[in-house]
């Protein structure tokens, strides 16, 4: 990645509203040219504020934002070569689709013939050819969304900012638009910064994901990095489902860390851990192993609480002796315990060791379950 040119450089940016409301905390992110970067987080985590600072609608309290090497934090929105796709689409209701898409070019006083050609091409690209004379009120949600994207892209921005653009669409349309957006981005090779609270959307579309929590960047990496190697408990629980086993480091031998859990001691791979440090082991539900007979090595005895059928996936929820719930997931067709006693274990490679951070993060996760639909 290092050989790629940096397109957007956010450096040490803080945003404080009204002197006390600190919504973005010392944020530094580099976005590479042609990259699809997603800012992911629950509502109120500062991701939209970050996007609006890049667009120019908000001014950072401190720090710098560079686009293509130029400081832009003091430029007006209309002076920046970035364009935004708004969550509410923000189409101009009194203009036809043609005029909406042509707006940016008209402001730049582009020649009429060129405007016509570029608008026609752009509308074809978003599969809205023939809609030129309609008004926004005559379009469906998905069509409005495509107009909003066309209106932004026609200006050939260096960076396209998208603020939860698919939030108002139904599930099926959203899936379809996700692929379409990704296709457009690859085809035009424009840097996308995409804001969403939908982790699945982020995993599907992004080259890299930046996970924000309470104004702080928790982790930035490829979808695989984030899913397979979460850097914090917040990330582990926010991206997909996981089972966390908390314990304490009781021995270190090279990169093999012994962790003492309530139910026994298990080894996991990891570096830069210290003795007696509080840690957590994250095991994804689909990697959780079980057996009806005791197996050798580390196991946890548990009893099956219920089984859930979710179409292509089977889930079982089992209860540990300490009352915690553990989820097991299998593809439909595979077997899954239905009741009685099971012995849980996992392969060392499937267990991810995570530093336990302060309780604040755990509380944030707990609260998130109530506010994740923003």
């Amino acid at each position: 990645m290092n050989d790629k040119k940096v397109m957007v450089e956010i450096e040490g940016v803080n945003k404080i509203y009204g002197g006390t409301n600190h919504v973005v905390k010392d944020l530094s992110i580099s976005v590479y040219e042609g990259e699809f970067l997603t800012l992911l987080g629950s509502s109120g985590c500062g991701k939209t504020t970050t996007l609006r600072m890049v667009a120019g609608f908000e001014e950072p309290t401190s720090g710098s934002i560079k686009v293509a090497g130029v400081n832009i934090e003091n430029q007006e929105p209309f002076e920046r070569n970035v364009n935004t796709v708004f969550q509410s689409y923000a189409l101009f209701p009194h203009m036809t689709i043609f005029d909406n898409v042509a707006y940016g070019l008209k402001i730049k006083k582009t020649a009429k013939a060129e405007i016509k050609e570029r608008v026609t091409n752009m509308l074809d690209l978003v599969q809205l050819g023939g809609f030129e004379k309609r008004y926004p009120s005559q379009l469906s949600g998905g069509q409005k969304q495509r107009v909003a994207i066309a209106r932004a892209l026609i200006n050939r921005p260096q960076v396209l900012l998208l603020d939860e653009p698919l939030g108002a669409l139904d599930l099926k349309l959203r899936k379809q638009m996700q692929l379409e957006l990704k296709r457009l981005q690859k085809k035009l090779n424009i840097t996308f910064i995409y804001v969403t609270h939908d982790q699945e959307e982020a995993l599907t579309m992004s080259d890299r994901i930046a996970i924000m929590n309470d104004g702080v960047l928790e982790q930035i990496g490829t979808p695989t990095d984030i899913y397979e190697r979460p850097a914090s408990k917040f990330v582990a629980t926010f991206i997909g489902e996981t089972n966390l086993f908390e314990g304490c480091v009781s021995g270190i031998e090279g990169d093999a860390v012994s962790v003492t859990l309530e139910t026994g001691t298990v080894t996991a791979k990891g570096s830069d851990y210290q003795m007696n440090e509080m840690v957590a082991i994250s095991v994804r539900p689909e990697r959780m192993q079980y057996s009806f007979e005791p197996v050798e090595g580390f196991t946890i005895e548990a009893s099956v609480k219920e089984q859930v059928y979710v179409g292509s996936i089977l889930k079982a929820i089992v209860i540990l002796p300490n009352g915690n719930e553990v989820k097991i997931e299998r593809l439909a067709g595979q077997s899954i315990p239905t009741d009685g006693k099971v012995y849980l274990y996992w392969n060392e490679d499937d267990a991810k060791l995570i530093h336990s951070r302060s309780q604040v993060f755990f509380d944030a996760v707990e609260n998130m379950t109530f506010s994740s639909v923003s």
Binding site: A55, G56, F78, T84, A90, L91, F92, P93, A152, N155
Partner: protein
């Protein structure tokens, strides 16, 4: 009674009721129109003496009445322009910005609407006398602007309640500065509200009597002139001019309804 005859009674009674309502609304107007063609020359100009266009001919000789009508139109246009500009800017400002005492200012807007016109008239008269502004067209325009502003604000604000602020951000995002954004986006989107407010202001100005009575000095507006002349029954040339105004209004309403002024947007 059978069900069917009950239904019949229902139908007949609703027709009668409807007719009465419309008669109640339109009878006074019909009387004016009819009387404007009445050939009678004796006061109080009520008994029908045959059809004539005389009053319309006479109307164009009645320079005092015509000039008062001219004054009314002039004052209405000026006060409407002023009230619309001030009211629109005020409404947009109050919608967009938060400031101290906003709710108080909000509440104060209703005062000119609810206080008796006579109080507003007297206070304006006192104001103009104390500030030595000669009463005439200028004071009439100022007075009419004063009571029209809240109506413009209410109308524009109603339009603003469904207004998506992000369309202005989108415009700036696409390269338009604030002035271009205001004229390309804000103004056209608010236009129906502004137009409605302006029409209301215009109407209020045209038929205002009480406040004009206090602030007119020697200048006569059309309603004041009519008030003056009815001491001896409504003169038929007033009927004639009223009929012409009515005709103008009806034509305007028909044009608006037929959508000539608005593009077809569904």
């Amino acid at each position: 009674m059978s069900r069917q005859s009950k239904r019949g009674v229902k139908k007949v009674s609703s027709i009668i009721f409807c007719t009465l309502v419309y008669l109640f609304l339109f009878l006074p107007i019909i009387v004016i129109v009819v009387n404007s063609f009445n050939a009678t020359t004796s006061k109080p100009y009520l008994s029908w003496k045959g059809f004539t266009f005389d009053w319309y001919m006479k109307l164009f000789d009645n320079t005092a009445l015509l000039s008062s009508f001219g004054n009314t139109i002039l004052i209405a246009i000026c006060s409407t322009l002023l009230a619309t500009c001030i009211g629109t800017i005020a409404a947009v400002g109050m919608y967009k910005y938060k400031f101290k005492g906003k709710s108080a200012i909000d509440g104060l807007l209703y005062i000119p609407v609810v206080i008796p016109e006579i109080v507003l008239g007297i206070s304006l008269l006192t104001l103009f006398t104390n500030t030595h502004i000669p009463r005439g067209v200028l004071t009439l325009v100022l007075a009419h602007t004063t009571f029209s502003i809240p109506y413009v604000i209410f109308n524009v604000r109603a339009r603003l309640s469904g207004y998506d602020n992000s369309i202005e951000e989108a415009s700036m995002d696409l390269g338009a500065n604030r002035i271009k954004t205001f004229f390309n986006i804000t103004l056209p989107v608010l236009a129906p509200g502004i137009g409605g407010g302006a029409l209301l202001a215009f109407t209020l100005s045209i038929d205002d009597v009480i406040i004009s009575y206090f602030t007119n000095g020697q200048t006569k507006t059309y309603p004041l002139k009519v008030m003056e002349s009815i001491k001896s029954g409504v003169a038929p040339d007033v009927n004639a001019l009223s009929t012409l105004i009515l005709l103008g209004t009806v034509v305007l309403v028909i044009l608006t309804q037929s959508g000539i002024f608005t593009k077809n947007k569904q």
